[in-house]
């Protein structure tokens, strides 16, 4: 321990960088780990489960939130869902899913979607309820059907709030997909969790890559939100 801690820390970041680009022998011996090939596979798996789970969560929660919000029904359920969802301990959910239901991609996607549904449902409901009632009245006066009012008036005006929910959901899902190796699906989180195989360099590489992936997806969703937000709403803000 002659090197000062800061220099040693820098060294570990160097090792992590090296781990991403070059294969090396596993701590447990024998097999080669790391390198772009393996990292790519793990990253692709993490992205796959994240996109699938977020997709399922949106498909289920968005229509439900739109309908409940439009007809003003089920406020208690829609709002409590968001509160209750936050209280679910991710680790217990994944552990219980793996041991009581079984390991596998389908089960994992269901568990992750469960984490994604509450924020999307709550935000969609709240977003629709907050739409200025005079806009909805005007739409009714023009003879729009319920369906048209939802898709052409309420949904566009509620986009910022709805996307807030989608972004929260995606953050929850990516974070929890990181512990998916506990449920038998190897994502980037395996580098973090299986330290005895990958060593500290692998752990740090995994942590950096997961963080980068989360920030990238968040950035993309912010871009999607900007594209979907009606121009009138953007003008109001500036």
């Amino acid at each position: 321990m002659t090197a000062p801690p800061l220099a040693a820390g820098f060294g570990l970041f160097g090792d992590a960088f090296n781990f991403v680009f070059n294969k090396q022998e596993a701590e447990t011996g024998g097999v080669l780990v790391g390198g772009l090939g393996q990292i790519g596979e793990l990253a692709a798996k993490q992205l796959e489960v994240t996109v699938l789970a977020l997709g399922v969560a949106i498909l289920l929660a968005l229509p439900a939130g739109l309908l409940l919000g439009h007809f003003g029904k089920g406020e208690f359920v829609a709002v409590s869902a968001g509160n209750a969802g936050r209280a679910i301990p991710e680790l217990a959910l994944i552990a219980l899913m793996a041991t009581a239901v079984g390991v596998g991609l389908f089960n994992l996607v269901v568990a992750l979607a469960i984490l994604g549904i509450p924020p999307i449902l709550t935000n969609t409901f709240v977003g629709i309820r907050q739409v200025d009632s005079s806009s909805v009245e005007a739409a009714k006066g023009m003879g729009m059907t319920n369906r048209e009012i939802i898709t052409k008036v309420e949904l566009p005006l509620a986009i910022p709030t709805i996307m807030g929910g989608v972004r929260t959901a995606s953050i929850n899902i990516i974070a929890t997909a990181t512990i998916a190796p506990l449920a038998g699906i190897l994502t980037l989180g395996d580098l973090i969790i299986s330290r005895n195989v990958y060593g500290d360099a692998g752990v740090l590489a995994g942590a950096i890559l997961v963080a980068l992936m989360a920030i990238t997806i968040e950035g993309l969703l912010a871009g999607v939100q900007w594209r979907l937000t009606p121009r009138g709403l953007k003008l109001q803000r500036s």
């Binding site: 209280a87 552990a95 009581a100 190796p181 506990l182 969790i193 942590a207 997961v210 920030i215």
Partner: protein
């Protein structure tokens, strides 16, 4: 140590020193006998969990509140603070633990830093929204009766922003109780250590009990903060 977590057989140590052996062998979804025989083993992890949550939320509140006050005085700071805390919020906690590994090593401090970083955005956003929503008529009236900026902030604006501030604290606290189960990966203790015991996650009753304690803790914190909010804003009740 929690290296090499995998779905493996229950390890010997876990088996030897506990009386509810039958529960472990059968491993049904929930075994009440286990709770009766082993409730004491959850005391320390629960207390550790409380320490993790309280330290993180308290530190998060102090930092985010200060940033929000600064951003309230100097509006241009608002965007960079929002972006900065946004990135900290986005980075998954488990990843954050190990980004800190070369700097703070493994342990409860590492876990608390990462959880604190997570809470900043939620609290910052709610404090600034609360302050911004104070009606200009009220602040004008405050200035009219000769309040200084400081008096205006502490005696008028912050009390009126209290519902938003409490709402932010509730979201931050409940989320942190759930997230703190992950502290086990940073060797930070807490209830997660009873979900992943030794190197396995296969004991269902143990997962349900530890996860259940975390949920109850979250609900209790939520209720306490809700009541605190009501107590601090008596006028809200009078107005109705």
């Amino acid at each position: 140590m929690i290296d090499g977590i995998a779905i493996a057989a229950i390890d010997d140590e876990f088996f030897r020193d506990r009386s509810g052996g039958g529960c472990i062998q059968e491993n049904r979804l929930f075994c009440p006998g286990w709770v009766a025989d082993n409730y004491d083993r959850y005391v320390d992890p629960t207390l550790q969990h409380l320490v993790l949550v309280l330290s993180s939320v308290a530190a998060g509140f102090i930092i985010a509140f200060s940033l929000a006050i600064l951003a309230h005085r100097h509006r241009w700071l608002s965007s960079p603070f929002l972006a900065g805390t946004g990135i900290l919020y986005t980075i998954p906690s488990i990843s954050f633990f190990f980004l800190l590994l070369p700097i703070t090593g493994r342990g409860a401090v590492t876990a608390i830093i990462a959880l604190t970083a997570f809470t900043l955005q939620i609290i910052f956003r709610n404090v600034t929204t609360g302050l911004r929503n104070v009606s200009p008529d009220v602040t004008e009236a405050g200035r009219g009766v000769g309040l200084t900026s400081k008096q205006l902030l502490w005696q008028v604006e912050l009390p009126l922003a209290m519902p938003e501030i409490i709402a932010g604290l509730r979201i931050a606290t409940v989320s942190t109780v759930a997230l703190a189960t992950l502290a086990v990966f940073a060797n930070g203790g807490g209830l997660g250590a009873e979900i992943i015991v030794g190197s396995n996650i296969t004991f269902k009753t143990g997962i349900i009990v530890a996860g259940g304690i975390a949920v109850v803790m979250a609900v209790l914190f939520d209720a306490i903060l809700l009541l605190t909010g009501k107590y601090l804003t008596p006028w809200a009740k009078a107005a109705r």
